[in-house]
């Protein structure tokens, strides 16, 4: 639990969300440390939402520099001044302004160069970029460390994410005959490498997996609106993962912003179990 008391100022600032998820969840958020890998539009949206929610610290990581295309989705950089500079570094000052309570820093690194010891510091890692090998290794490390891993991309107008929360313990809320009861429950998540072996018939899911495995060439632009939608959903899942309230969506999500506005969840398991619906 918290080792430092929440202040009156924080209670006022977070009033509207404490009324939603309670003081205990807020205290868990106040002690959570998050790493965002890839500071494009998707990374910026997730960062904004969880910094506003009031986590303890966030590290922004990117090894790329700002280019013109960032102007269509990345609102944490200053497109009039930052072109050619490191994307993570440029995002720090506006991120700090979102919520002065949150410690914000950056690293200009690649996933390969991150040590297990460094990764251990984080409760949640959200990668919005990375090769299949990078993410496979990162996922193994996160499972060992008990870190929740989100991995997703916005490819043009198409967006998807995968989550591995290992064995995730959470408090389950049941309402029966108007009476609310709470119980402890555990969700088991398949590993990233297993998910890639699935034989799922859904074209949307196959499209996402083709991007992940490199069958499809990456699209270098992120559509801002797709970033907003998936960034909101991932941020909400990060908050759930940290606060350990309510079950997480297990384990794959696809959103096509050229579709009808709906998003599609999948529970993707290993090859022998084709995609299962979760109820």
């Amino acid at each position: 639990m918290s080792n430092n008391e929440i202040s009156k100022e924080e209670v006022d600032q977070y009033d509207r969300q404490i009324r939603l998820w309670g003081i205990e969840a807020q205290n868990r958020l106040r002690n959570a440390n998050v790493l965002i890998i890839g500071m494009g539009g998707f990374g910026a949206e997730v960062t904004k939402n969880i910094v506003l929610a009031g986590i303890n610290s966030i590290v922004l990581m990117d090894d790329k520099n700002v280019t013109m295309v960032d102007g269509s989705c990345q609102f944490l950089i200053d497109i009039t001044k930052d072109i050619g500079r490191n994307r993570a570094e440029c995002s720090v000052s506006r991120t700090k302004l979102l919520n002065p309570n949150v410690k914000v820093s950056f690293i200009a690194e690649t996933i390969k160069n991150l040590s297990n010891d460094y990764l251990k510091k984080f409760d949640v890692i959200c990668a919005t970029t990375g090769s299949q090998e990078d993410i496979t290794r990162l996922d193994e490390t996160c499972r060992e460390n008990g870190t929740v891993l989100f991995f997703g991309c916005v490819q043009g107008t198409f967006a998807y994410y995968f989550i591995d929360a290992g064995s995730h313990e959470y408090t389950k809320k049941t309402i029966k005959n108007q009476e609310t009861t709470y119980s402890e429950d555990v969700q088991e998540f398949p590993k990233f490498s297993d998910v890639l072996e699935t034989r799922n018939p859904s074209t949307l899911l196959i499209k996402a997996l083709d991007f992940i495995t490199g069958v499809k060439k990456p699209i270098l632009m992120e559509f801002g609106v797709a970033c907003a939608v998936i960034g909101g959903i991932v941020a909400q899942e990060i908050i759930k993962a940290i606060s350990k309230k309510d079950p997480l969506y297990n384990n794959f999500f696809v959103f096509d912003s050229q579709g009808d506005g709906s998003g599609q969840f999948y529970k993707v398991l290993k090859e022998k179990y084709p995609c299962q619906k979760f109820d």
Partner: protein
């Protein structure tokens, strides 16, 4: 310099975006996210209006604002912050009321699409009518906690905001509030009334003393009535003033004498636990063991309640030195302490579980929780809808929901087809409305203020009689019909079946109201009129009443419009009474989704 949508969207769509004009109503939670999305996508021309200023409790989600902006105009600061994302955008900001006649039909007509990011029903009703009158597509949206939705409102294509009438506002019968509270909310409502009686504008509907006309207590309070009559003649405020707001006297009157009096109405307590009058010297200071809570979440002891109550009386008395009327505000600490302490004391007397100041603030201020992520998702979906409208594909818009869990087909957000306009809608389908009332009891002023303005959402109505001469009984021109206002409907021979042509020029909205006479007993408890909808509904209602002897005869729809129930923020304090329905934080009803969308796969 802006790359924006060029490489991602079809060229013809980009061209249309480049030539579009957008009007955003509201710069709050959804509004901040929406403005960011519009600017990043490359919408070149945006006008934005919001009357509000920035509050510290906005900062957990309205990310265009920071601490140093508290107190400044939302529209202005949102504009300045969003321009940093794309300095080429033209943004015009108004800190103003959307209902002002500056924003008339011609003003609306210059836009390709209007985006609502509002937090209250009355403004939504107004913009709905303006967009119908100007025939401009309107994208509506709303969120509450984890829930949210967006839809398109377009004349002749889809349902308007008022196609599904809302069931009557949640109000509590006066005798429950004054005599027999059974839930904490009754005590909170009573305490807010008490605040107004003592320090604000007294309202006859907000009496706090025992109600001797309680039908349950009939013929029971004879002797006591005599005793109390003296008090009834003097207003609560006058009485308190004469006693210099002395805490001992006020406390004893409210929490001892009045309770004793209630006890004398013995019929009330045959099947209820009788209340226990309090004596100041015997107040308990015991507190439950409360760990792991913030100070505001601690439940006060009764002794503590008395101390807070006394302190509030002292402070508030100072504020009304110049005979000022205070307006209760949940964000005013003393006003909030007053309601918390008074409500807890009253709850204790009636054996009702007390709650903390934190929880009572939610209930008294109708606070709706709000977070950044839901607003971000909904605002993203709003822009997808706006792009379809701009592209000329309005019919491809959907009614889209954010829910707590994916639907059975694992979809979230969930989208469904737009509903067709309701052919009986009194707003978009020129249907008439029946209003049940007693013409001899209703003045034209009441008809104008409570029925036409509050209930039917008009801003400046004109009313014409069907007397063959077209007599104007209410005019929106200042002073033209002032002398009529205190006369009753009967004095103008308005009776059962009379048709009144009501017209709001600003909204270009016209509706015929058919009067259906109803005596006080026929009307819902404590209400002086009832809007029934169209004539057929009135008929079916009468049948219901006859068949079921009034029980459950309210022809109410249970699939209330989610946009009605939710809002981005708490309600404005200025209109607390008619908004009570909005604090019900309901999960959106899936019933409104007529068909599940076809899977893309």
């Amino acid at each position: 310099m802006a790359v924006n949508c060029a490489n991602l969207l079809p060229i013809e769509l980009c061209e249309k975006v480049k030539n579009s004009k957008v009007f955003m109503v509201g710069a709050g939670g959804i509004g901040c996210e929406l403005l960011k999305n519009l600017v990043l996508v490359g919408f070149p021309y945006i006008e934005i209006i919001d009357l509000d200023t920035i509050d510290v409790s906005n900062l957990n989600r309205q990310f265009l604002f920071r601490k140093e902006h508290v107190g400044k105009s939302k529209a202005e600061v949102a504009k300045e912050s969003a321009l940093k994302f794309n300095p080429n955008t033209k943004i015009i900001a108004y800190q103003d009321n959307i209902k002002s006649d500056k924003y008339d039909v011609d003003f609306f007509k210059k836009f390709n699409v209007v985006l609502n990011a509002l937090d209250n029903r009355s403004a939504r009703v107004h913009v709905n009518r303006m967009c119908l009158a100007a025939d401009i597509p309107l994208i509506e949206s709303g969120t509450a906690g984890y829930l949210g939705q967006t839809t398109l409102i377009k004349k002749n294509l889809s349902e308007c905001y008022e196609c599904t009438p809302v069931s009557g506002q949640k109000s509590y019968p006066g005798c429950t509030i004054r005599n027999t509270p059974s839930e904490l909310i009754h005590c909170i409502v009573w305490s807010k009334h008490l605040f107004n009686q003592l320090f604000g504008e007294a309202d006859a509907d907000e009496e706090v003393s025992p109600d001797t006309e309680d039908p349950e207590a009939a013929g029971d309070a004879g002797e006591a009535v005599q005793k109390n009559l003296d008090f009834e003649r003097v207003s609560t405020r006058k009485w308190a003033k004469e006693n210099d707001y002395n805490n001992l006297k006020v406390f004893t009157k409210l929490f001892h004498d009045d309770i004793k009096y209630l006890l004398s109405m013995t019929n009330l307590w045959t099947e209820r636990t009788p209340p226990k009058p309090l004596v100041i010297s015997e107040l308990s200071d015991t507190q439950d063991n409360q760990s792991n809570v913030i100070p505001d979440q601690r439940i006060w002891s009764i002794k503590e309640c008395f101390d807070k109550f006394s302190n509030c009386l002292k402070e508030l008395k100072e504020r009304i030195k110049d005979d000022e009327n205070l307006i209760w505000d949940k964000d005013d600490d003393i006003a909030m302490d007053f309601v918390t302490s008074a409500a807890c004391i009253r709850a204790h007397i009636f054996g009702i579980q007390r709650k903390s100041r934190f929880d009572i603030k939610s209930m008294a201020g109708n606070i709706i929780p709000a977070i950044a992520s839901t607003n971000a998702i909904i605002a993203g979906l709003v822009v997808l809808q706006a792009l379809k409208v701009v592209q000329g594909r309005a019919k491809d818009c959907r009614h889209i929901y954010m829910n707590l869990m994916p639907n059975p087909r694992n979809k979230l957000p969930v989208s469904g087809y737009l509903c067709e306009p309701n052919p009986k809608c009194y707003v978009c389908s020129k249907s008439s409305i029946a209003v049940r009332l007693a013409p001899e009891n209703i003045t034209l002023r009441f008809f104008q203020d409570k029925i036409l303005k509050s209930s039917l959402g008009m801003v400046a109505p004109d009313v014409e009689l069907d007397d063959g001469k077209g007599t104007i009984v209410i005019s929106s021109e200042e002073g033209e019909t002032t002398e009529n206002m205190d006369k009753t409907l009967s004095e103008f021979s308005i009776k059962n079946g009379s048709q009144l042509k009501c017209d709001d020029f600003l909204q270009r909205y016209e509706v015929t109201i058919v009067i259906a006479e109803a005596s006080k007993e026929d009307l819902p408890e404590d209400q002086e009129f009832e809007v029934v909808g169209d004539i057929e509904q009135l008929k079916s209602k009468k049948d219901d009443v006859q068949n079921e002897n009034g029980k459950n005869g309210k022809n109410e729809k249970d699939d209330t419009d989610f946009l009605e129930v939710i809002s981005d923020e708490e309600m404005e304090v200025s209109e607390p009474k008619k908004r009570k329905a909005e604090d019900d934080n309901e999960v959106p009803s899936g019933k409104r989704l007529k068909t599940d969308a076809i899977e893309i796969e």
